[in-house]
């Protein structure tokens, strides 16, 4: 029994000793912290002065006069505020001071949060040597969040490996992250065919395929309309819904037939996306199937169908009024609610 007592005393004393050390560390940090804030202020003053006088040497002297971490952090935030010539000149000054090399070390040796930030900074600094470090991190980093951040950075510096290889390196677990949407949205148009190829792969993760379709719809032109039309019939509800949303943005000659078919799909999100696309494209000839859809079991589908009808203007509203005046049913209730939506009279 006594060992319980002795162990408790030992653990308590140990924890108090550690806490005491941390308090001492904090006291020291408080002193250094003031100095750090002063250095940051001085550097920001120099950066602002640079935007006025473009004196690169003075700026370099200011950058080298403060600790590298302060220069990197303050510099990154400042760079993101600038554009054009000023931006490029500032990058040159940072590169000449060797700051990207220090960020590269952070990418290798920092903790998870620091490595993600380092990848972002390397992309912003656009150093020639950054690509090598980023590619190495994409290969080796143990955190999927870091690998995704690195892929985004590589995309920004136009050095992303082929998409299939990139996704393999990111790993299966990383292929559920919404950050991939960000990656795909940054794809340059010249590489859209890779997104199209990947989105069409039946063996790929549906979430990733849907993200690729969304990116193509947002950034691409009408050239992918045919692809979206095919993907709208995909067995994966997630992919089909994304393709329908894309069709709603780009349109397609055969859109009415595709949407009518999709409105009978088993997946509620496919039916809702089809209704939404019909509304976006103003396909008033689909009023009848939309009216049917207002009796759907899923509220989201009913609401999307009713909204689509409303978006047709006068003809759609007439249909809604007709349904609202009919016998009490799910369709009637939905129509009444949609017609009443807005400020009360």
């Amino acid at each position: 029994m006594l060992y319980i007592w002795y162990l408790s005393i030992l653990l308590s004393v140990l924890s108090l000793a550690i806490m005491l050390l941390l308090i001492v560390r904090r006291v020291l940090h408080e002193r250094w912290g003031t100095a750090g804030a002063d250095q940051r202020r001085l550097l920001l003053t120099a950066l602002i002065a640079f935007t006025e006088n473009r004196d690169r040497e003075a700026l370099k002297a200011a950058l080298l006069a403060v600790p590298a971490r302060v220069a990197i952090d303050a510099g990154f935030e400042f760079i993101s505020l600038l554009r054009g010539e000023e931006h490029d000149e500032l990058l040159s000054a940072f590169n000449e001071c060797g700051l990207p090399a220090l960020v590269g070390i952070q990418l290798e040796k920092g903790n998870g949060a620091e490595r993600i930030h380092a990848a972002e900074m390397l992309a912003a600094l656009r150093s020639e040597n950054a690509v090598e470090g980023l590619l190495s991190a994409l290969d080796r980093d143990r955190s999927r969040e870091v690998r995704i951040a690195v892929a985004i950075a590589l995309c920004d510096v136009d050095a992303l490996p082929p998409l299939v290889i990139t996704l393999r390196k990111i790993g299966a677990a990383g292929q559920r992250s919404r950050r991939l949407i960000e990656l795909f949205r940054r794809f340059p148009p010249k590489r859209f065919d890779e997104l199209e190829d990947y989105a069409g792969r039946q063996d790929a993760v549906p979430f990733v395929r849907a993200a690729a379709i969304d990116a193509l719809a947002r950034g691409g032109s009408f050239q992918f309309g045919e692809f979206f039309a095919c993907a709208a019939g995909d067995p994966s509800a997630e992919v089909a819904a994304a393709a329908l949303r894309a069709l709603g943005l780009t349109g397609h000659a055969n859109a009415p037939a595709i949407l009518v078919k999709a409105m009978e799909n088993e997946g509620w999100d496919v039916r809702a996306s089809a209704a939404d696309a019909a509304g976006r494209l103003g396909l008033s000839e689909l009023a009848a199937p939309l009216a049917q859809l207002m009796g759907d079991e899923a509220w989201t589908v009913r609401y999307a169908a009713a909204n689509a009808l409303r978006s047709f203007g006068q003809p759609g509203e007439q249909v809604l009024r007709g349904i609202a005046a009919s016998e009490v049913s799910r369709r009637q209730r939905t129509a009444s609610l949609i017609l009443a939506e807005g400020p009360a009279a």
């Binding site: 007592w5 308590s12 559920r176 950050r179 609401y303 009360a344």
Partner: protein, 474 residues
């Protein structure tokens, strides 16, 4: 003649073993939590600046509805809503649910935001007391107010869930203050793993003593009074140690009702918050675990320490006692309602670890400890127990407590550093020691009282008298 003394000694020894065994189990759970929490924090260092988060996640952050049940909140409601509308998140709406307030809460909102009655179609997925009207504001399209008949907090939250359209919703108390970047930080697991993440809890911190202006905590300070100061350490232990540890092994049983982010579809699937429940937040999370495991879906319920919601802690013993007895009743209610999950292999780690934790810490813990306060010294004085037993019990209720509380503070300072001054740390270290000598015992007494009320089926909520974060209020 039969010698009773031996029987008494045997009985006392068995009872002492039970008390010390329960204490040992509780201490072992705490130490295990500390180790797991330290590992979790080391694996997931926090992002320091919120500007970075916006830069990183701003474009892919999912829409969120902020649900704010309000009951008799006339004093602070307008300022609270203003501060919520000013949160740094790209896509969110604030839905205030006036739960049949008897004061001027609705009128204050109507005047403050020039509200007009509004028809908004919504899915009647969850049941709740009738809604009297919906209001929108011409000043901001982010704000909606639901005016409904009184039905309690869970009922109001269910009404909010029905009305909201976002795939995620965040519950927050009307008198709490969210840090401006709290939503962005809390949404991170939903961005990193949107398929599996179904709920995320953030940290609740005590705002008593801090400087608050315009619905924001402008300067973090420690409370001036001892009672809230003791609760600061208590909250640190609860959030940074217990929740972080269980979250790491996906066994988190509680996402606080004062600040939690949930995926709407799953909450609707389990029938929403249980109306009339004493621990509606614990109840919901248990239901979510059960639903996901029954349907054999992979999921995660996480706690992340960085997003912060500030709340006001009770400053009087009377109010604190009410709060703690209510919490105890809530735990017991949920434990017995879902008792079939306890040690049930079908529910894996949740059945064994999650429910095992509730059994040891909430169900048996207070009873065995309070029994120990009385019986162990008595047995020792009567010469039935040796000094070794007394020391073992003393270490379990005092010295291990010091170690656990101080270690929570060590974790906070080593990884998060959210207390601004070294002096604060020194004060909190002292508090972490002294809370084990009196406050802990008082808390256990309240929890036993909660047990008694539970057995008597006392369902009274009790009035939470507050002095107000920004001004006097009741």
């Amino acid at each position: 003649m039969f010698d009773w003394s031996q029987e008494i000694v045997l009985g006392a020894s068995i009872l002492s073993w039970f008390i010390i065994g329960a204490g040992l189990a509780q201490t072992a759970v705490y130490l295990l939590q500390l180790i797991i929490a330290a590992y979790a924090l080391s694996k997931r260092p926090p992002v320091a600046r919120s500007a970075l988060l916006w830069h990183r996640y701003g474009d892919v952050a999912p829409p969120i509805a902020l649900l704010v049940p309000a009951y008799n909140e006339e004093v602070n409601v307008v300022e609270s809503v203003h501060s919520m509308l000013a949160l740094e998140y790209p896509n969110f709406e604030v839905i205030v649910v006036n739960d049949g307030s008897k004061d001027q809460t609705l009128q204050r909102l109507i005047e403050g935001f020039k509200l007009v009655k509004f028809h908004r179609p919504y899915e009647e997925a969850l049941t709740h007391k009738p809604i009297r009207g919906l209001y929108s504001s011409p000043i901001t399209e982010r704000l909606f107010v639901v005016d409904k008949e009184n039905g309690g907090k869970a009922d109001a939250q269910n009404a909010g869930v029905n009305v909201c359209r976002a795939p995620l919703f965040c519950v927050i108390d009307g008198d709490s203050i969210l840090e401006p970047d709290a939503l962005m930080r809390a949404a991170q697991p939903f961005i990193d793993d949107p398929e599996r993440t179904i709920a995320v809890g953030g940290t609740i911190r005590i705002a008593n003593g801090s400087r608050i202006e315009g619905g924001r905590v402008r300067e973090v300070r420690l409370p001036h009074r001892l009672l809230p100061l003791l609760q600061v350490v208590e909250y640190l232990r609860a959030f940074l140690m217990a929740r972080l540890a269980w979250s790491r092994i996906n066994t988190l049983m509680l996402v606080s009702g004062a600040f939690g982010l949930f995926r709407r579809a799953e909450v609707v699937a389990v029938g929403g918050f249980t109306s009339g429940s004493m621990g509606e937040d614990l109840d919901l999370v248990i239901k979510l675990h059960r639903h996901m495991m029954d349907s054999k879906r992979r999921y995660s319920i996480q706690f992340i320490p960085e997003p912060v919601c500030w709340t006001e802690a009770p400053e009087s013993l009377r109010v604190l006692a009410r709060q703690r007895t209510r919490w105890q009743r809530g735990s017991l209610e949920c434990f017995f309602r879902y008792r079939s999950m306890l040690f049930n292999p079908r529910y894996g780690r949740v059945g064994f670890l999650g429910f095992g934790h509730i059994l040891i810490v909430d169900v048996l813990g207070p009873i065995s400890e309070v029994l120990g306060y009385v019986l162990i010294p008595a047995f020792w004085l009567l010469g039935i127990l040796s000094t070794e037993y007394l020391l073992a019990f003393t270490s379990l209720v005092f010295t291990y407590g010091v170690c656990v509380s101080v270690c929570s503070l060590v974790l906070e300072e080593a990884e998060l550093k959210r207390f601004p001054r070294a002096r604060d740390l020194a004060v909190l270290t002292a508090v972490a020691v002294i809370e084990n000598f009196g406050y802990r015992q008082l808390n256990n007494f309240w929890r036993v009282k909660g047990w008694w009320q539970f057995l008597r089926a006392d369902q009274s909520w009790g009035e939470m008298t507050r002095t107000g974060l920004t001004g006097p209020k009741k």
